[in-house]
């Protein structure tokens, strides 16, 4: 990298990258923090709020996010139509069924700083409910980020050898015991 010309080094330092995050079976809050950090540019040592160093983030499978606990029924998203009697409250399930991108979008919007650059950063966030991404976005992607949550496997997804190798707390009784 030290053998690059000054202009090439400058170009490489200030170029805008495109990151890909797969949100399948991931908590939307953790996805949103990763997005917010990269949209602001806080993952770069050259960060400054006025320098516009944020990158693009593409989130796929936003329909398959996984809230922990009872948040699908208990978390409420509120809005107001600005008409009298226009206060609306919907649960996370209802909002997700109406628009599968809205939960991640609102989460990221709330995590960005409350200034005029927030709207431009949201323009650089690209959400897709499934994993079919358009051609031009696929061509731009530079890096895929690791998922924040390790997806636990169901019992039938473990092989028989792994199940037998799992440590038991007791020695099983011999078959001839009565």
């Amino acid at each position: 990298m030290s053998s690059f010309t000054k202009s090439a080094q400058q170009w490489a330092t200030f170029a805008r990258s495109w990151y890909l995050i797969d949100a399948r079976m991931q908590p939307p809050g953790k996805i949103a923090t990763m997005c917010a950090i990269r949209l602001q540019g806080k993952h770069k040592p050259i960060y400054h709020a006025l320098s516009d160093v944020g990158d693009h983030v593409v989130v796929m499978n936003s329909r398959h996010i996984a809230f922990s606990g009872n948040k699908w029924e208990q978390k409420m998203y509120s809005s107001h139509t600005q008409y009298p009697g226009g206060f609306k409250q919907v649960t996370a399930t209802q909002l997700h069924s109406k628009d599968p991108k809205a939960i991640v979008k609102l989460a990221v919007y709330g995590m960005l700083p409350r200034n005029l650059s927030r709207r431009t950063m949201m323009q650089r966030l690209h959400l897709f409910p499934e994993d079919d991404l358009p051609e031009d976005i696929l061509l731009n992607l530079t890096e895929e980020l690791p998922q924040p949550r390790e997806i636990p496997r169901r019992l039938n997804e473990y092989s028989q050898e792994e199940r037998e190798a799992f440590p038991t707390l007791w020695t099983p009784l011999p078959q001839t015991f009565k």
Binding site: K42, H43, K44, P45, I46, Y47, H48
Partner: protein, 149 residues
């Protein structure tokens, strides 16, 4: 009556009003609205601006420090460490590099910053190494225990 001739009625109000007004307006030329042109509005705006500038000299030092800290945190996360861990372990290793120099190293001397991060990581893992390892020094890191050969 004192002012008996016409020449005594003329008052000299002061010869340099223009320059006194320009002194204030020149500081207001980049303002928005009529306060960049009209003296009475400009005087108030300029006084406010100077007060903000006086207070900002202290705030600038605070802002610069938070900027250095966020830059160092970003660079250390690139190398798999968090900012509090990095600073604490650098202090424990008696590396007294301040945040301004650390952030400049992170931007312009990435290899030097990487070596400092590795030093901090080695110091962080020292307890683990003593408990679990075989008592040898981690490779590639100078420590306090210098063996003369």
């Amino acid at each position: 009556m004192v002012f008996l001739t016409l020449s005594c009625w003329i008052r000299n109000r002061g010869p340099d009003r223009y320059w006194k007004v320009q002194e204030v307006l020149s500081n207001a030329r980049h303002f928005r609205g009529r306060k960049n042109r009209c003296y009475s509005l400009a005087v108030r705006a300029v006084r406010r601006a100077f007060v903000y500038a006086t207070k900002a000299r202290k705030i600038k030092r605070r802002n610069m420090r938070t900027l250095w800290i966020s830059r160092i945190a970003a660079a250390s996360r690139e190398h798999g460490m968090k900012y509090p861990a990095l600073m604490h372990n650098l202090v424990k290793s008696s590396v007294e590099v301040n945040r301004r120099v650390l952030s400049d190293l992170a931007i312009t001397e990435p290899k030097s910053f990487l070596s400092l991060a590795k030093l901090a990581r080695a110091r962080q893992q020292e307890g683990f190494g003593a408990a679990l390892g075989d008592g040898k020094e981690p490779p590639g890191v100078f420590s306090r225990i210098v063996t003369l050969q």
